[in-house]
Structures are given as C-alpha cells and as structure tokens.
C-alpha cells in the first residue's frame, strides 16, 4: 500500500493530508486517486511527485514499492 501525502489544495479536495492506496505505479495511483476525487484529476497530473524523498517532475510510469511514500507537491520552476 503506497502512503500518499498531500499538500496545499489537495488536502481540501481529498479531505485529508494522508491516504493509503493499493497502487504499484504512479500511473495506477493517479488513476485511483482521480476516481476517488474527480475534481483533483487535473491537479494531480500537473503536480511534481516525490517518491521516497526523490522529487520527480515527470513520474507517470515510475514503479512503487509496497511501502512507498508518495508526496504530491507543486511543480517546481527554475532559473
């Protein structure tokens, strides 16, 4: 079960700051979360993601371990 940590607007949309989701990839995780909260679907696709502390700007196909910790964070622009 992946442990999902939300920040910002997603906490309001999901009504919680943490969830556990039975997903073994980011793709499956986003699909599951989008079904649970359709209004958050676009936001989830725009966000950067950290998996076990490593920040990914594009993580769609990344695999998740059984005890993965996933954070959805605002996208990071840079100079």
């Amino acid at each position: 079960m992946a442990r999902v940590v939300f920040t910002g607007d997603l906490i309001r949309q999901f009504g919680t700051s943490e969830l556990t989701v039975p997903a073994r990839s980011i793709k499956a995780l986003i699909q599951a979360l989008s079904q649970q909260c359709p209004e958050a679907a676009d936001t989830l696709m725009e966000m950067a993601i950290s998996i076990d502390g490593e920040i990914h700007q594009q993580a769609f196909l990344e695999k998740l371990s059984e005890e993965a910790e996933v954070c959805f964070i605002p996208p990071i622009g840079a100079g």
């Binding site: 940590v5 939300f6 920040t7 910002g8 607007d9 906490i11 309001r12 725009e46 950290s50 076990d52 502390g53 490593e54 920040i55 990914h56 700007q57 594009q58 993580a59 990344e62 910790e69 954070c71 959805f72 964070i73 605002p74 996208p75 990071i76 622009g77 840079a78 100079g79």
Partner: protein, 756 residues
Amino acid sequence: MSAKTTYKWIGSSPVRPDGVDKVTGRANFGADHSEPGMIYGKVLRSPIAHGRIQSINLTPALQVPGVLAAICGDDFPDADAVQGMSSGESPADMRDIARNVMARDKVLYHGHPIAAVAAMSPEIADEALKHIQVTYEALPPVLNLDQAMAKDAPLLHEDQITRGLPKKPTQASNIAAVLNLKRGDLETGFSQADIIIEETYTTPTAHQGYIEPHAVIARCNEDGRAAIWCCTQGPFVVRSLSAQVLGWDMGRIKVTPSEIGGGFGGKTTIYLEPLAVKLAEKSGRPVKMVMSREDVFRATGPTSASRTHVKLGMNKAGKITAADVKLECEAGAFKGSPMQTACMTALTCYDLENFNITGYDVVVNKPKAAAYRAPGAPLTAFAVESAIDQAAKRLGLDPIDIRLNNAAKEGTVAPYGAKFPPIGLVETLQAAKAHPHYCAPLKPNQGRGIASGFWFNAGMQSSAAINLNENGTATVITASPDIGGSRASMALMTAETLGIPYADVNAIVADTEAAGYCDVTGGSRTTFATGRAVIMAAEKVIVSLRERAAALWELKPEQVEWRDGQAHPDSEASAGADIKPLSLAELALSAAKTGGPISAKASLTAQGAGGGFGTQICDVEVDPETGKTEIIRFTVIQDAGKAIHRAYVEGQLQGGAVQGIGWALNEEYIYDEKGCMQNASFLDYRMPVALDLPMIDTVIVEVPNPNHPFGVRGVGETPIVPALAAVANAIDSAVDARMTDLPINPPKLLKQLSTA
C-alpha cells in the same frame, strides 16, 4: 547508483572550450547572426500601465517608405483559443504567454507589446512605430500588493478566480492563487517558545540583469517552414511556445540557439520570437529583432516583489518550536509568481514539528515575472534567515549553532512532504564554523552575517549523442545551451567515462533538428540530467568498442574489458595469448572494417536530482555617516555533490552570491505613480560591479548524490538564496540596525541609524 571516488578528469579545471572565442569576440551571440536580405523589426510598446485597447491602425506605418510589414494582436490566433499549459520545466498558461507576447484587448503594463513593424533599417522601423495609431481607454494602474489585494481593486483580469481557497470564490480577484503548507499545531508550538520573533520583510522587483539583451532572427521559407536563431536557455521550448502562439505545427519551426550572454531563468520563455516569425512571413524577408536595455527592463520578466510576515517561536536552547510564514508575491501582469517555490523552500533548511506557510500569488500592472535563479527561494530565505538571526541575538547563541540545532538532514521531512535523501546542510554549516573567516577579527562598524539556503535542483528530460571521429576524438552533441559551463562538464564526463583526454572531446550545442530533445538549461539541472544522458551515450559507445575489439580478436564481447581508454581481453582470454590492448583511437581508425562509424545516443527523464544546500558568511563595513555598506569579505560554502569542473562550480557560487548581494544592497525597480519604470538602464538600476566586491571565497562540500554516477548535484541556483539575509545579518551585526526592507541602500540605512 553509487558514485566512484577517484577520477582522472572529474573535479579538474581544464581550459574552457568556449573561452577563446569569448575573449577574442569571435563568439556568436543572438544579435551576431545575419541572413541575406535581412530586415529589422521593432516593437511598439504600451505607454500606459493599464488600459483597454480601443483601436489600432497600422496603415500609416505601412505607408512609410522602407516598411515591409506591420502586425498587431489581430495577426495571431485568438489568445482564448491558445489553451493549455506549456511543456517544459515550469508549466505556464499558454493563453497568458500569447497575450504577454502581443497585447490583445488590454495592455497590462507599461512596455506591453501592442504592435510591431519590419523595415529596411532599424531607423526606418523606429520611424514607422511613430505612425501607428492606437487609442486606449486608460484604467487605474494596480502597482503594489496593497492596491491589488484591496477589496475594491481594479481587476487586471475580469475572469481570474483565485485558486487554492477552501471554497471556490464566485468573484474575480487579483489574487491568482493561494497555497498553504502546514504541520503540527502552531498554538502548542508557540506556547513552548521562550522568545517569539515577529517581523515583516519586503523585497523589491529585481531583474536577472543578463548582459546580453534578447535577440532573434527569423526566416520563413517558401515551403512554409521557419528557422529561428536566438539566445535562449531552451531551443525546444522556443519551438513549442512559438508554434502555439502562432497556431503552427511545431514541426514547421527549427530553432538554433546562439551563444548566450546570461539567462539566470529570464531566457526560459519567449518574447520576440513569434513576432519575428510573423513579420518574416508577412514581409518575405528574414527579420532581426534586438531588444534595447530599456526594452529588457520594461518588458521582460523580472522577479517578483514580495512581502513576508514571519512569526518564529524558539526555546532557550535555540530550538524552533513553531514558525508561521505568510508570503505575498507579485506575479506581474499574469499569474505565476514563484510563490509556490518560495513557500516550499521557506523553512526547508530546518526540521520543524509545527509550522504554517501561506502564500498568495498576486497580479499587478508590471511585467510578467519570469524565473530568476532559485525562483522565490531568496524571498522567503531573506525573511526566515533574518528572523533566525534575530532569535540568535536575543538568546545570545551562536548563529551557526542555532542553525545546526534545527538543521534538516537525511530522513527529515521537508515542509512540502518529501523525506530527504542524503543532503549536505549540516556539512556546510560545519565547514562554515571551521573556516578561518568565521573567527577572523572585526573592526568598529564591521559586522558578520550568516545565512543558509536551499534549492531543489531539477532533473527532467535530456538527450545526448556522441560521435567518434576516425582519429579517436569524440564529438558530444546536446541541445542544452551552455550558460554556466555545460560544454566543459559534458566533455569532462565523456573523457572520464571513455578514458580519453579531455582535449580529445569537443562538446557542442546543436539545433532542434540536429539534437535530441532537451528541456531548458535551468533548474540547475544540466550537469546532472544532460550529464547523465552523456554518460549513458558514452557507455553505449564503450559497448560498441568492446564489440569491435572482440571481433578483431575473435572473442565474445563479454570477454573484453574497457579500462583507461583501451580494450583489454579479460584474464581468461589473455592467458597464454599475446594480445595487445586496442586504444579507442585504434578502434576508431579501423571502424570502417569492423562495422562502420561508432556513435551512440541516449535520452532520459532524469530522476533524483539531489537537493542543494549552502551556507554563506558575509562581512560588511558600514559608514555611519553616509549609510554606505561595503562588502569586505564573503565566503560561499555549498554542497555540490561532486564538482565536475571545479573552477566553473566556483564561478557559479561566486556569481550567485554576487547577484544576491546586488539584490540586498542596490537593485530595485522604481516606478512612478502611473506605473512607468523610472530606472530602466544599467546606469540607474545599480548592479554590483567588480569594484564593489571583494574576491568571493568558495568552499565546495561534496556529499554525493546517489542518483548520479559521479554524485553530481546542481549548483547554479542555491548560492543566490542565502546571500540577501547574510548581508542584512552582517549589517545588523555591524551597526545594530535590523533592515527588513530591501534594498539596504545608503538613504534607507542612514534613516534607520538616525532613528535608532
């Protein structure tokens, strides 16, 4: 992935491949390119900061002899039809980009493009601009956070609804977005504090200040394709954004990046490019457009002005018990200030149980903010690092010890929710404390400041190709513009991986049709991400070289090892056999006989860019009679993971610190009450020059990033982050004057001193 520790080339400082061309003036920057039959484009810019465009008449301009084309917003697809987010590192609203490049129904800042012409000479084009007839309905300009956030504020965008609030508003607002990050219980945290520091800090609008103004040449061919030459941090982003603004298929556009005279984030978007293409299409001639310095200041992305309120609770032992941070950030004319990253980095240096961070992205009638070196991070770092210094002073604690007491380390959960992998903040603080600078004596009116800072660093998409030449040299091709030494870094990583001399590698930056896709050079990502693509391509070349040697020796490839730039038979194959190693040059020379040219390509989405932390020590001397602050000593200490080209890394640390010093002491946009910038030149917008600064000392800490073969972390952005607070803290140490409003220029400091 585990990093090696001993290298032949990595960590050295060989001669820079672009150095000779740059010091001899041979290097071709954006404005240096020419095309046969080329004409010159100029932009008409709004003389008011806020207004509705009632009419534009281009005909009189077209009647000026020598004018070949004129365009305005009507020549582009309806901006409302340009939907979606841009690709690349920093998603941006394409509708906003389209309207920023060329105003449509409204002008939103003084300098906003309204129309453009192309003529036989720059002088004729300037004359033609005077003949364009525009009528406006002037609207009240909204020039600061208070005006923009007032209840009855004039709206820049009547359809802008604030994002991120608990309940979606029904009324439009100049507040584009709100972000909240929190953990723990603030009330409990503050109840555990022995002291509370509460202060509001402000930073002004500041420009990246790159030396080279934006420049572009565009040519439209008879087959409907266009070629663009420009100075940019990302040719693929120019291709994508320009195509969307023009309503073209991006396959019609080829972008060739020139040498670049600085970017610092300001050249990760487009301004002139679609205008030049449209003028070239209309005139049938190649069109060159070059911004003046005044254009650059008035109409290209500065970074945001900001106001940050910090409430910090700390116990007597110097442990932060709670932190409440509220940031308001000017976005300029369109949403998208670096508010989010400013919030995410505000408290990232520290391991905190109780905090609340709230950010507001606010539109005002100023140029749209663009990325600037660690976008947003210096704004909140100035506030938080100043507050921590104030707390240290109140408690009588050492400012480095107080930071070590609270420092984030591996396993700390950052305010944005991610748990840190190995990071080097503690190591930079320890190195600062051990540095001779930290205990050097100070004279009267001199003071010392400390500050730390963080930047995420990015990965994203990169590609690289390596071609071996028949003499055993290698050409490395990427589309990552070299803004901070990436050609040298790519050559070093190639040389190290292949085992050949650095001088035998030629790294080049190619166009969008000759190189594989690369995201922009930005986010301190290129040495990490494009470097990984280069290493992957070099490893593929080695596979090919082992196959060639195996074929010549009639062995299996797995029986051939690659060491020190040579193929060797493994111990089993070489036993009793007289097989001499084959060098890369020998294998390259015989390539025609063993399968043809040797080359390889690699592409990736690079994950796991390690975060960058730094600590800075600043000494100042304040003249109490004039209020002038002189930087007398400055040391930058930063975790680079692994420095690939040591001198270039030192240069990045020095350059970032200098930009931060300028922001702290001098730089600011000054507007009149109508929203017209009053200091749009380097004479009046005062950036530090060599005479203003001491030699900036550097200490490179190396805590390897486990996600790079050599341990690389990005280094370009972190060094600007602590510098603002380091300077302010040093001034307070020197003359007991806590300055919370940047820039700390002589009149402001003198006023503070006289008040005290």
